[in-house]
Subunit: 339 residues, 4 copies
């Protein structure tokens, strides 16, 4: 870590900082400039606690880490991308996996129609919310276990794998019984109790990026799950919150190649939540392939106009089919590039 | 709600929207402009579900609500500010309540020293985290129940009331046993399972604004707690996330008079987390009084340089004393204004 | 426009608003709901001035427009994309134009080497700053007219067209003498005096999106140039400012299909400034093709380590060559889609 | 500056960086950690150009400055606040200066009525726009020189000093002829050509913070004016752009004490533009005094409902009078604190 002293820091203050740095188990190097003194400390890791304590000391202007705070999810620990197995499907092996389905599970007819349609168009995983995190207490909160049962039935009928969201620690066990992949929603990305519990689960987790989470925070949340025992984590970029109101959120596609440099975890793109606009989903799905994502999550509803949630961003089955058709040459192209 | 049709919407599409609006129980009013047709719908409330469904229909360009989505917390429902009682202390009665203490409870000595100091300077409520939501899994996670016990002991010795954070649904019961006020942290503002559970608790709740939560979302999260049975909610503005990096967050003081217009719930300001910088706490505390907040939450540590968390923003006891001393004339001034 | 009255607005206040609306030349429609009254006004356009005046009246809670404020740049005015001619090159005709070159023109050798390299790899337009807008007065401010002359010389030697930035009204004439396309930088997007002057120029303009400009503001700035006489405007998305610090800015690729819905102006993507990181440029360039952009602007320097500005985001000539090589199949694929 | 090498940087790469650092005139200090090597360089200043070049070199992970890039405006250069004289008025001497008037100068009657009213209530400086930077080309652009003449006439009649905005380099001379203080608007904060020209003017400048400008960028823009010869610069915080839409912008009041630590330039608060809401101006004005600002700029209009711009945020004369009346005890209180 680096400690920058104030311009008028005293010799005593500088010595005090060196002492504290040694106490923490690092070796201090004092570098005296014409304008101020800087102390570099090298040692066992740049603990936030140590940095905060040094920042609190008299005579210190600033202190900051050199090392990245995440470890197990880092590419420095494991160079090759983690391929996550969901039975016969693999996510992160260079292919492009498509997850599709309704925002909320609304009933038998709606779910089976959607599931069959997306399966026919080539999706491999069915999405659908049984528990819905809703901004307003007056909005539809999901069918709960009944929704989970319908998802399981749709899997039986179509062979699709199932991904669905888990909202709290109390729901983990039940959701894990039914789902093939457990999803953590953006609003729960820093629900650390939930993350810890998901570390004990045997199923893969898809962690969505929080609305205002930095890449560093995103990876630290993944690190929570991994350090608690579950290495099968994939990341999902679904748009961040910015000043722009023309789209629901701002899709950060640069996060894909950046994450590919920083971590070995697979990265999924969700253009539906990112934009909130059906017509933007198809071009962004192509961009997701081109930029190097490992997969796509997108919302599909047989009648968006009757959807209980997220209708404006849901593709109709025929629109989804067209997207899948147009996506294929991009996927092939990428495959060729890798060979 | 208002539905704006596309410039080239057909008569049939317009009629279809009117039919759907009637189905929802509203009365449609078609207004034909030279450039486009707008349909206004008045009726039982502007349900998000209805708006999304209309937005999903062919020929519709946009649809949006006129009414605010929050109800029970709204000033339209209750004109007078809700005064929240914590034994003999009242929050929201026009006075100014000060909550102070360490970021984390670290041990007996640290907590008692701090509690006595802040009590002596005039604080009424002791803050201190027993469960800590930390961005990194490698950071200190709190003393858990031992921390709660120390807080209770500090209350016994000083007479201060106790506020502390609850992290998840599973912890609610235990924390409610020890604390006088339960705090929901910024990262949990949209942990809806937790909010629902807190609706069933008999103790007051302080809800912190999420890092990227709009005022509307903030009030809807409060609405969750209130609709589930607990009307004793106070709001805490603690800085929002912006592009600025010179401060930890950006304190949104305009939120105070704005919330005072929109809701009857009391509003607390936390300048410690908002800025992350000790030297900015005192001037912002004065501003909080001047702008009309109902109270202040601030971090105090006997030795910030040894704090296990948030040292750079923690006041030393003598700095806290000075702040309290300087705050008093501002509080008096405001009191005079109200009479 | 729509005017929402306060819940307790009086009959007199409602009548007053109707009178004002008629004064403005609109026809008011009063819609009385159970909770509040809404007045819809249809007429000659939703002028900001009128909306602000109505918002200022007693009894009004809010007032907002239905119509988009931009006109000439709007797709409602002209359905087909505007193809902008720069001699034999056309931008916006379905092809993909590449603009490349150094951040700053530094000297003869540097510019000619770069120009020849990017021409050899297939770029059509040479970029290079002669006037540099720099955050700090202590940074290199550009070679000024000498830089313009070098750009002209590079054009002579390579056949590349030249795009370069104009910083202020006083420089317009001189830059227009040398450049084929004049660039307005992000920090000048709302320099309205400059935009007006560029409306009188006979050469195409590339307008960069401001760091915190909404899509609506972006289009209104383009509208300034067009209403002042110059229809040859292309838009450049170059990343917006968000809370994320891992990249220099956040590239808003969803803006491309959104702009393609709203405006007939061509859209260029600049992944160099958007990310500030050389390694992210290539994947984002592919995504720019896939998402439907009309072209790319990217920084290239023979020795990034010696660049006077923007070295970390500049491609080396061989990296640029590789990018161009990899881009071609994406461009072909898109061409096939359109046929 | 600090250069962090990649984990797998070679000895050769490390030596190369040291050579470059010496070339720049700094002395390199190599610090070898278990996980990576860090090179600290101390010397003549942390030039952005040097940092970017080092970042571009092979084997380097990151490079960043230790020193702040602004100099002349920095508190390290001058401890005492700069008191700016405008004839008999002084800004920055511990007092609190109030600037008030209409958004736009609309005509004789409107301006004289407002000027007399704000003078009667105790304002010292009259604001009013003769040249208006408007997002849309269809909005009112100001009365131009006629507006300047009216401002001069209002000064004659009331004794108020005059502040007004200058939009571009070409207007500087004319505006300087009429105004006592020249204002740079938020959208022009990084119009460097304008800043340079204002460095040659003999009148004080008020520089408004850009919508998404960091504190560092804000100070560097002030540095432009000062390095070009004009030391009489005051800063104006007027709200920054965030995700929140309930207010027009987010007023960053923490910027006041932070700027008071970093710079000797006076700081003014503009709560009118910051919030866009008349009812929020009064409480925030009090907060501005409490937090340590040197003055206030606020919009006043005799009939906000007829204002050509910014009506919703303009105070009526009687509301301004009330604000001034209520502000006085806060100003007195602050005065007492300083004695």
């Amino acid at each position: 870590m680096i400690v920058a002293m104030q311009a008028d820091a005293t010799e005593e203050q500088i010595n005090h900082i060196c002492d504290r740095i040694r106490e923490f188990g690092y070796a201090p190097h004092v570098i005296r400039g014409t304008e101020r003194t800087v102390i570099a400390a090298v040692g066992p890791g740049d603990k936030k606690e140590h940095i905060e304590q040094l920042k609190s000391a008299d005579g210190v202007e600033n202190a900051f880490p050199i090392l990245q705070p995440f470890k197990l999810v880092s590419k420095e620990v494991k160079k090759q991308k983690s391929a996550i197995r969901v039975d016969e499907i693999t996510i992160g092996d260079g292919g492009f996996v498509v997850m599709a389905g309704p925002c909320s599970v609304e009933g038998y007819e709606q779910l089976m129609t959607t599931a069959k349609a997306v399966a026919a168009s080539g999706a491999q995983i069915l999405r659908g919310g049984a528990y819905k995190p809703r901004t307003s207490p007056y909005d539809f909160q999901g069918l709960a276990e009944e929704g989970l049962k319908l998802l399981a039935e749709a899997r039986r009928q179509t062979g699709l794998k199932v991904i669905t969201e888990v909202l709290d620690t109390e729901g983990v066990e039940l959701v894990a019984e039914y789902a093939d992949i457990l999803q953590v929603g953006a609003r729960n990305m820093q629900n650390f109790a939930l993350l810890k519990k998901l570390g004990e689960v045997q199923k893969p987790i898809m962690l969505k990026r929080g609305l205002s989470a930095t890449i560093k925070e995103f990876l630290l949340s993944a690190e929570y799950i991994v350090t608690h025992g579950n290495p099968n984590v994939m990341l999902c970029e679904r748009g961040i919150r910015t000043f722009e109101t023309a789209t629901r959120n701002t899709l950060d596609l640069a996060a894909v190649p950046l994450l590919n440099e920083l971590t070995h975890l697979p990265v999924i793109i969700d253009p539906s939540h990112a934009t909130g606009k059906r017509s933007l989903v198809r071009p962004l799905a192509k961009a997701a392939v081109a930029v190097g994502a490992d997969g796509l999550m997108t919302e599909v509803h047989p009648f968006p106009e009757l959807a209980w949630s997220d209708g404006p961003q849901s593709l109709r089955p025929e629109e989804f089919a067209r997207m899948m058709h147009e996506l294929q040459p991009y996927i092939n192209l990428r495959q060729n590039e890798m060979n």
